[in-house]
Symmetry: C2
Subunit: 248 residues, 2 copies
């Protein structure tokens, strides 16, 4: 039976006593009903993982003491950012969850011309907190020691103005007019140190967005000849990129 | 603007007048409000696609006349069956939808030792109809001309007794005890004509199931070092296999 894992962002070395964040403390105490001296795993969300012992469980919270370093799950070689157009309802959350399991290091929500109404970058602060919590939960579940950082949303124009960090990929539909290539072409080059993959909303990118991205250095790539749902495309693309770059 | 597509299983040649199934007729008449002489696309679910003209729209339904053959979306080279352990709630439906977009040719629901309560093969007849309808809707959306066949559910033991059709793959968790390999190893061989990939339920396979599958010729393969959700693993595995076999 694998050890219960807790997110302990303050844990940085062996022999340290740290408090668990409230949500983690609640789960340890009230859901799993663990007590003092129970052995658990703690990961700091930046790639470190420890065996830890529960030190105190009381109204003030839960503290644990790191006992021993553990080899964390291997991270992908490529530092991969997903620039994700905000999707309808809970769909963005589902993509954040899967992108975490598929090894994304950063999730950059973006708002685009065809983003659903209400997805203005300014109104998304609470959503970002929720997506970050989902990234933590997903890292726990898939036994990853790194929690992807969910960034504050950016308007698409600003993403383009900054340019891609590392290799820039914009996922486009097979029917798009602009010159584009298959995602297979990424395998023609050695893995980059960093990459950014931009995935559009349900209604797709506008022609102007595609042009702007191409002008800023994003490569326009497609995932085969069928049109994937906006909610399914990010996971399929991440799975293939991680495969090509040797992680999956 | 791409033409509206309708599923017309009776369409088989040019110059033929066929009735649309009730759900398709409803969509044409009441949702899209198309009329006589409108030009649409019709696909038969087995890989043929036509330009068609709306012939009659009335209380009895909708009939269309095929006018011209259209080059259908390219199908994957490998005839790929997904043997999918029935998942909780609506999750199975979501996987059927994505597997259709990712080019699965057959979806074989299976019931396993850790399938959710209520997922006995005998009680799933209505669920199969629903999943088949979802496969049709997904084929329409992704512009595929082939609708994957959703088979009647099988107990896992029977799947194993029949053995895999073509190359057999069982997707297992990285932590599993039995000897297993990375999904990367499929790339060491030329693409098979047919393949079956078995994916387990939320609780995973039992040791006995893994052993039985290995004994029946399934290769035990993992998707990297992180544990993917049961609902996300099929799409990630299908995306990678279709990539390796040249489709995506």
């Amino acid at each position: 039976m694998a050890a219960h894992r807790f997110y302990a962002p303050q844990a940085s070395r062996i022999g340290q006593t740290v408090a668990l964040p409230p949500g983690e403390a609640h789960q340890l105490r009230h859901v799993l009903r663990l007590r003092r001296d129970a052995t658990v795993h703690a990961f700091d969300g930046r790639g470190r993982e420890f065996v830890a012992r529960v030190q105190a469980v009381d109204r003030d919270g839960v503290s644990i003491r790191t006992v021993e370093a553990v080899e964390p799950a291997r991270e992908p070689a490529v530092d991969l950012a997903l620039a994700l157009a905000v999707l309808k309802g809970r769909t963005t959350a589902a993509v954040v969850r899967d992108a975490t399991m598929l090894g994304a290091r950063t999730i950059q929500p973006i708002t685009t011309a065809r983003s659903p109404a209400g997805a203005a970058a300014a109104g998304l602060d609470r959503a970002v907190d929720r997506w970050q919590a989902i990234a933590i939960a997903s890292a726990k579940q898939c036994r990853r020691a790194v929690v992807p950082a969910v960034r504050p949303p950016l308007p698409f124009a600003e993403l383009v103005a900054r340019g891609p960090c590392g290799l820039g990929i914009m996922l486009v539909e097979p029917a798009i007019a602009a010159p584009h290539a298959s995602i297979r072409t990424v395998a023609d080059q050695p893995p980059p140190a960093r990459a950014t993959i931009a995935v559009g909303p349900e209604g797709g990118w506008t022609d102007a967005e595609v042009e702007a991205a191409a002008g800023a250095g994003f490569r326009l790539l497609t995932l085969g000849s069928r049109t994937l749902r906006a909610a399914a495309a990010p996971a399929a693309a991440l799975a293939i990129l991680q495969y090509v770059w040797g992680d999956l």
